[in-house]
Subunit: 225 residues, 2 copies
Amino acid sequence: MIALAFRYICRKEVKYMQPSKLPERTVERLSEYRRTLLNSLNKGVTHIYSHNLASIHGITAVQVRRDLMLIGFSSNNKKGYNVRELIDFIGGILDSDHVLNVAVIGMGNLASAITAYFNGKRSKLRIVAAFDVSDKKVGKVISSIPCYHIDDFKEQVRNNNINIVILTLPTQEVDSVCGLVIESGIKGVLNFTSKPLTFPEEAGIYVEDYDIITLLEKVAYYTKG
Amino acid sequence: MIALAFRYICRKEVKYMQPSKLPERTVERLSEYRRTLLNSLNKGVTHIYSHNLASIHGITAVQVRRDLMLIGFSSNNKKGYNVRELIDFIGGILDSDHVLNVAVIGMGNLASAITAYFNGKRSKLRIVAAFDVSDKKVGKVISSIPCYHIDDFKEQVRNNNINIVILTLPTQEVDSVCGLVIESGIKGVLNFTSKPLTFPEEAGIYVEDYDIITLLEKVAYYTKG
């Protein structure tokens, strides 16, 4: 438990997070395990050992076993974990009971890529709408989802029961939509702009900032001599 | 030092990383601080306090000061950190002495978004080439970079002195390029496909796997009631 507590402290930042939730890195790894397990199942694999799962993800088998212990999964046997059971078990932890609807704000290349890539891959998460201001996009169906004017955001969030937004609009425009996000009762934000976001705590909004420049700078740092 | 050591253990995974390098989360935060500092400088801000920097990033001022202590930056005074000096100092840590050239494999929407977004933002990292197999793309200039056939990969890596690749090709095709990446002496990989990658240790390749599904699942997890 000490090790787990430390891991939690390490990643814990001063942002809104419900108590009694799993640490962020554990959640990331569970999502990654499930992705691998789904691929394995598609290939006809029925059982997998912790060391196989670990090797695919470049981590230790101890780490895999610790993560699964933390969520209470313990059906490991001589044949390894049952792939189908583990997929369902992780789903029980990560997924909502009902489908969570997602909207994209800023319908450019990144939004198109995310939408095309994502939809159909998970049953409990669905990108259902996009918002933009350009005449070329508003009113059209792009990457199979309808694109609305940002002025209709609150109405469409209500109509489509949207819980989460992905921000892919230009960084200089991000401030102009923050008020809308709060007022419409959105609870989760995946932010791809260059501006880190903080919302008032009472809004209860979980934010994940991800700037692609940071990823590339990190690779560059570990690559340089 | 104990706290730092623990943070390092937390994030340390069994993947290729040179010894004596900073922990991954520290590198991410330094990149993020620099992004904020560059924005501040553009707005005419000359000095910034650790608590301001912390508040923008949703972390504690103690964390900011600890990160900057770790890289040996200590010019904090009553006016706060000198923004220009801190930008240069972080650059001295993160950046290579020479420009690192980057190539994209798979010239779709995601690659276009990344290239358009990235180029021009950092002086020591430059996306210089794309590779694809489609007749519609090969031989064209897309998002201001030339697109070559993947068959010419090794030759172009040599000609353009490419050090890093970004993988944005379909997941089912990723296996087919791994050999090429090793043989051509690439040292860093930013992997956006759904398949986690591991290379033989002797190849000395640093890999950063990033699946957008994981990011979205993480937001969904912390969003659900």
